[in-house]
Amino acid sequence: MASRVSSKGKGKAGRGAEDGPTARFVKEWSTWTMKKAKVIAHYGFIPLIIVIGMNSEPKPHLSQLLSPV
């Protein structure tokens, strides 16, 4: 458990005595959120830029996105 927590970069390492169940729950839940956020950022960042770009003025056409010219 300590290695999983430290690998996610949390400042407070879970060494020494066991913290109460609430603190452990918060740590595990935040680790889960960071993992999911990393996957979402990994797959969704470039599509996000493309969506924001295609909706900016003046709106480019979809064919401009795909064609190499």
Binding site: S7, G9, A13, K38, F45, L48, I49, P58, P60, P68
Partner: protein, 326 residues
């Protein structure tokens, strides 16, 4: 002020537009009067450069993006703010190996990128064929507060890196707070002390290795030159000096001393910015000579040549490429 007849020894006559003066005022050059009018207003100092860009001019001249192999970049603008980029690279990259220093591994990759550049929001994303994502976000939350995010995400676990920066720009100072993965926390502050001199300092803390450090930096710049010095508690002293010899030429030199490894490096370089090309070259104290040429063939078409010769390690790297698009 005095009579028009000067009693001083044999002073040269003052320049005609000035009224006649006596004594010492005649011997001093007339420019002294102009200088005294431009009194330094310490309450109206210019905003300094950000702390991480304190050595910007030297880095631009001395550290061009040298590469080995073929590089082709194509940037296609769909919009004033939105553009896509396709980039192909074929060549060798250096991989550190435990046995014999670094070894060269032939690699080839295609990189797709999307950029959205707005005055308030900048999004840059680059994804490689092996799934690595390079993301940069810069967002102006208010007039003075900026959020910057820099991340390299990989498919392999535990190899991703990310950094969040909050920048605050004051009237004559800048402050920055950084948070990174692996429990990295840092802060830095830089203040203009005179119109030419700015002083700054930074602290950082690495959670996992329980390491912390503090550093100080000073930057003195005029129109013609920039001199910076940086000292850090990690035992690094870095000095650099850039002189703008003319509109087209600037010379830069750099000195770095690492107290822990007793490593000294010094380099000297030049930067020629001409109408059709930009040529940068540098010579290193570790026996390394490098040059980088960007030649503008046509509107939006640039031809790039890169060369790096390491005489000590007998390592010769040559690269060529082309960049199409703005």
């Amino acid at each position: 002020m005095g009579s028009s007849v000067s009693h001083a020894a044999a002073p040269p006559p003052p320049p005609s537009p000035l009224p006649p003066a006596v004594g010492l005022a005649v011997a001093l050059p007339s420019k002294a009067e102009e200088k005294s009018e431009k009194k330094v207003d310490y309450l109206n100092l210019p905003c300094p450069v950000p702390f991480e860009e304190i050595q910007r001019e030297a880095l631009m001249s001395l550290k061009p993006e040298l590469f080995e192999g073929l590089r082709f970049d194509f940037t296609k603008g769909l919009n004033q703010k939105f553009s896509l980029s396709h980039s192909v690279y074929m060549g060798s990259t250096e991989v550190p190996s435990p046995s014999s220093g670094t070894i060269k591994v032939p690699t080839a990759h295609y990189e797709f990128g999307a950029n959205f550049l707005d005055p308030k929001l900048m999004l840059i994303g680059r994804v490689l064929t092996d799934g690595r994502l390079n993301a940069r976000v810069k967002c102006d939350l208010t007039d003075n507060l900026t959020l910057k995010i820099n991340a390299q995400l990989t498919n392999e676990p535990h190899f991703s890196q990310g950094m969040f920066n909050f920048d605050y720009k004051g009237k004559d100072f800048r402050a920055q707070y950084q948070m990174g993965n692996n429990a990295f926390y840092g802060a830095n502050y830089i203040q203009s002390v005179t119109p030419h001199l700015s002083l700054g300092s930074e602290v950082f803390w690495l959670g996992h290795q329980r390491k912390s450090g503090i550093g100080f930096a000073a930057r003195y710049n005029t129109d013609k030159m920039v001199a910076t010095a940086q000292v850090a508690s990690t035992g690094i002293v870095a000095l650099c000096y850039v002189q703008k010899v003319s509109e087209k030429v600037s010379l830069a030199s750099d000195f770095m001393y690492n107290h822990m490894t007793r490593d000294v490096t010094s380099s000297f370089g030049y930067d020629y910015i001409l109408r059709q090309c930009r040529l940068r070259g540098k010579l290193d104290s570790s026996g390394c000579v490098a040059a980088f040429l960007e030649e503008r063939l046509n509107m939006g078409v640039n031809f790039i040549l890169s060369a790096e010769i390491d005489h000590r390690k007998k390592d010769y790297k040559f690269g060529f490429g082309m960049t199409v698009g703005e």
